[in-house]
């Protein structure tokens, strides 16, 4: 278990090399080896989606992947969304439309939504609703998450 392996990957555009046990999940590696605690763990069994990050631009559950599987990949987390002081349109929309309450599920929803909208900027509401139902939120009843993502989609199409 303790034979550590080197993993080299790009996190939010920065090349990183970490040494981890093969059993280390990508989520734990991001949180503990890279110090990026914005990626949250809500269930560690792949249901809640709070740990969603983008791996080569696709949303993945970072709790269901080993860090070693991310070798050579490009990983994007919530910490990489804003450009300096300027929030990403999704972050701005979540702020404007009260798309978060306790904020624990928010990084996962943001990364999921980034993945969805980058893949399909014109996604229709029913398909968007279906795609966003991948993740759980316990505070908002999803009303303002949907509203926020729709508003961001419109903004990003401009």
């Amino acid at each position: 278990m303790s034979d550590k392996q080197d993993v080299t990957f790009a996190v939010n555009g920065d090349e990183r090399m970490i040494r981890v046990e093969p059993r280390r999940s990508l989520a734990d590696a991001l949180r503990e080896d890279c110090g990026l605690t914005g990626t949250h763990l809500g269930c560690e069994h792949g249901v809640c989606g709070a740990c969603t990050v983008l791996l080569d631009d696709k949303p993945v559950r970072s709790c269901l992947m080993f860090a070693v599987q991310a070798e050579g990949a490009r990983v994007r987390t919530v910490e990489g969304l804003a450009s300096g002081d300027k929030l990403h349109p999704l972050q701005q929309a979540f702020w404007d439309h009260h798309g978060l309450q306790c904020g624990f599920c928010t990084p996962g929803f943001l990364m999921l939504a980034v993945g969805i909208l980058e893949h399909d900027p014109d996604i229709a509401e029913p398909e968007l609703r279906e795609a966003l139902s991948s993740n759980l939120c316990r505070c908002t009843g999803y009303q303002n998450i949907l509203k926020s993502v729709l508003a961001a989609a419109a903004e990003m199409r401009k």
Binding site: H45, A50, W95, H98, C102, G103, F104, L136, C139, G141
Partner: protein, 771 residues
């Protein structure tokens, strides 16, 4: 410029949106990791706890004289039971902590915990209400005869006559499954020992930092000053995090014993099995109506399966006593009899969960109304019109005082929004195509912001209620409001800043609200019972009014005018009707650095303290659900959901609606999806979020919200609480709608969650009966 009433974006959000919020697990870097060894069986005698060779583990024996958790009510009908921090002789539910291990990493701690073996002589557990109450049932606790931890009664003298005189009597048994609050962030604690001061700082995912400090200090027998409790960002609580838990006591104990930092980060399995549950209730209801549909009496027998222990500080009385006192809800109930019992079982203990009993009693009462209406040939609106309280203040049969509300108006407004007549026509039309639509309504009053009088009436030995606020302006003119409430997602810091801003005349962006740190805030009770806006908000307003007077005194001195002629707006103090003025920032600078000029504020400077302890105030609402039931699959789809809410004055309407959204989603979950299931041996079958079905965006429909604003004198800000109403009202509306859809089949719903399997089962039974 006025700030109250604006949908101001939250000051809390930028940090959270960028992943910079610090939740408890984010603070665990460098700490040693604590892992609990939990009981694999529901009931038994511990024969041995074996540590792996060469490993020191923490057991009850090692903890020595650490005191158990023993929550108390000052009532003869209540039996206090003491919960050991770690199980010593017996285990009483699956998941009960027996031992703890400490390792350098989470993975190593898990490995170690798996190597601890526990030998238990298993016994047949008492899992259900029926098992616990059966004659000769095994006792969960020897001192609690018939497994009854609380047995409260209420009876008016005329009850028997009223029941006998009934034109219509409606009687049924209503059941609610067990729910878990399931906050997205599970519980967690980081306890750090400081060798310089000998103090421990505990960061914990809690709703009540001060009470946690009291509870832990009492358990360890140390002065409270040796412990600082901080609630950092908290990822939802919903009541589950308003109790003292053994794990936190062990964390603080270990930090002191080993002079280090230790962290316990709960996993989801632990959270679903060994944190707290709620709602496992069965109500036997009897309602007596006269020929016009007026309610004459309610006779209710309330049974709550409260699990193995009582929670601190609310106790296991929280659900039964809420049901007993608040059963009549928004209706005039002349005669009332109720018995409400909290029954112990070998299951996970109960804690308050958003709504506390009221989702269940509201569903039962609203089903009662619909059943009586059907018998009497009245519609759902008419029977409620004849029974809703319309005169305020209204004192209920149990002595609870309802302040001004809009019970009937909210229902009539909802009826206008939905257009019942048009729905009935459509319902008829689509039935021909085999589509079964139903409409259900739910009218309720939500007691919010209860102060000490409400909790004293429950006879809690620890009586929560007041809130104290310290408001300080610093020399640069910025304000800090230190509150005892402990928000965890509600946006309270933004809302309170809006309240204070208007009271003083400054911008809310210049006000920092400090919460959740026992070293930084006055002793308070935390955030629960829809209380923080009402009570901490009230205290903020009172403190701000005093501080404004102090600023007026300083400004009067500087501007050579009477303090009473000074107005403050947009950060500037000026003599009314003139352009003679001075910036608040200059006042602040002068008040500190030339204090000799301002004898009027010599004692206090630019600070103010206020305490608010109201009786409480009632929000009210009407929910309407329109559902489609697929009778082939049992699937329920919510087509439309309307809420007409009266939460008094809206300070931040966007935040208020957010509270309603989240509450309704949890209520829909109660009605249709979520249930903690135990097998006969007391094992939990719903230990993951793949089994315990928290609804997703696919299940929660668009929610339409409309507001009424009854201004009340029961709250100094005019605001009523709104944290729980969504959860309280939604189940009743959904169940009434499903019952309405299935009425042609002779099916009525008296249980929740009403899952597809249960609907099919009821349709099958009804079909067999019809043959």
């Amino acid at each position: 410029m006025r700030w109250i009433g604006r949908p101001l974006p939250r000051y809390e959000d930028p940090v959270l949106l960028q992943g910079r919020g610090r939740y408890t697990a984010d603070l665990a870097q460098g700490a040693r990791i604590l892992r609990f060894v939990r009981s694999p069986v529901a009931r038994g005698r511990i024969l041995a706890v074996n540590a792996p060779p060469g490993v020191a583990i923490v057991t009850a024996a090692v903890l020595g004289d650490v005191k158990p958790i023993c929550p108390r009510l000052d009532r003869r009908d209540y039996v206090p039971v003491a919960q050991p921090i770690l199980a010593d002789e017996r285990v009483t539910y699956v998941g009960e902590p027996i031992a703890a291990v400490i390792a350098d990493t989470a993975a190593e701690a898990e490995d170690l915990a798996e190597q601890v073996t526990v030998e238990i002589a298993g016994e047949t557990p008492v899992v259900t209400l029926d098992q616990a109450l059966a004659p000769g049932a095994l006792l969960v606790h020897d001192m609690a005869a018939q497994n009854t931890l609380i047995d409260a009664r209420f009876e008016t003298p005329g009850i028997a006559a009223a029941l006998a005189a009934a034109h219509q009597a409606v009687e049924f048994t209503f059941t609610s499954g067990r729910q878990a609050a399931a906050p997205l962030e599970a519980r967690g604690a980081v306890a750090a020992f400081d060798s310089a001061t000998g103090r421990v700082t505990l960061w914990a995912s809690t709703q009540m930092p001060h009470l946690l400090r009291t509870g832990i200090a009492d358990a360890l027998g140390i002065p409270e000053s040796e412990l600082r409790v901080v609630a950092p960002e908290v990822g939802g609580g919903f009541g589950q995090k308003m109790a003292l838990v053994p794990e936190y006591v062990v964390a603080v104990w270990a930090a002191r014993r080993f002079a280090c930092s230790v962290a316990w980060i709960e996993d989801r399995l632990e959270n679903l099995t060994a944190s707290f549950h709620a709602r496992d209730q069965r109500l036997h209801m009897r309602g007596a109506f006269d020929a016009e549909g007026r309610l004459l009496a309610i006779d209710a027998d309330v049974l709550c399966n409260v699990g193995a222990y009582s929670n601190f500080p609310a106790t296991c009385g929280v659900e039964p006593l809420m049901a007993l006192a608040d059963m009549p809800g928004p209706y005039r109930v002349p005669e009332y009899r109720a018995r409400a019992r909290g029954v112990a079982s070998n299951t996970c203990p109960m804690a308050p969960y958003r709504g506390v009993s009221r989702p269940v009693i509201t569903a039962a009462i609203e089903r009662l109304m619909d059943c009586a209406a059907a018998r009497l040939g009245l519609d759902a609106l008419e029977i409620r019109r004849r029974n809703l309280t319309a005169e305020f203040p209204h004192t209920s049969v149990t002595g609870v005082v309802h302040d001004a509300g809009s019970y009937r108006e909210a229902m009539e407004a909802a009826a206008r929004v939905v257009d019942f007549a048009q729905f009935r026509a459509r319902q008829q039309t689509v039935r021909a195509d085999g589509r079964w639509l139903g409409l259900g309504i739910s009218v309720f009053a939500e007691r919010t912001g209860p102060g000490t009088p409400a909790f004293a009436a429950r006879r809690m030995v620890i009586t929560p209620g007041f809130e104290r606020v310290e408001l300080v302006m610093d020399p640069s003119g910025f304000l800090e409001a230190r509150i005892g409430s402990s928000p965890h997602g509600q946006g309270l810091k933004t809302t309170l800043a809006q309240l204070i801003a208007d009271e003083i005349g400054v911008a809310p962006g210049e006000i920092r609200v400090v919460a959740g740190d026992t070293d930084r805030t006055p002793y308070g009770w935390g955030t629960f019972a829809s209380r923080s806006l009402v009570i901490a908000g009230g205290a903020c307003k009172l403190a701000a009014a005093t501080l404004r007077e102090r600023l007026q005194a300083v400004a009067g001195q500087i501007l050579e005018a009477a303090a009473s002629d000074i107005e403050i707006d947009d950060g500037r103090a000026f003599v009314r009707g003139t352009d003679l003025g001075v910036e608040v920032r200059q006042l602040a600078r002068a008040a500190y650095h030339q204090s000799h000029r301002f004898p009027a504020i010599a004692e206090t400077g630019l600070s103010a303290v206020a305490t608010y302890d109201p009786y409480g105030t009632f929000s009210n609402a009407c929910h309407v659900a329109i559902v489609a039931v697929d009778v082939a699959t049992g699937q329920v789809e919510i087509e439309r959901f309307v809420v007409v809410e009266d939460a008094g004055r809206l300070i931040n309407p966007m935040i208020v609606e957010g509270q309603i959204h989240g509450g309704v989603a949890q209520g829909i979950a109660n009605a249709l999806y979520e249930e903690v299931v135990y097998d006969d041996d007391g094992n939990i079958l719903t230990g993951s979020l793949a089994d315990y079905l928290v609804p997703t965006m696919a299940e929660i429909p668009r929610l339409e919200i409309h507001h009424l604003e009854t201004l009340t004198e029961a709250s100094v800000t005019g605001a009523k609480g709104v944290g729980e109403g969504g959860t309280i009202g939604a189940p009743a509306a959904v169940l009434n709608a499903v019952s309405d859809a299935l009425a042609p089949f002779g099916v009525g719903i008296f249980e929740m969650p009403i899952t597809p399997q249960r609907i099919l089962q009821l349709l099958g039974e009804a079909g067999r009966k019809a043959q």
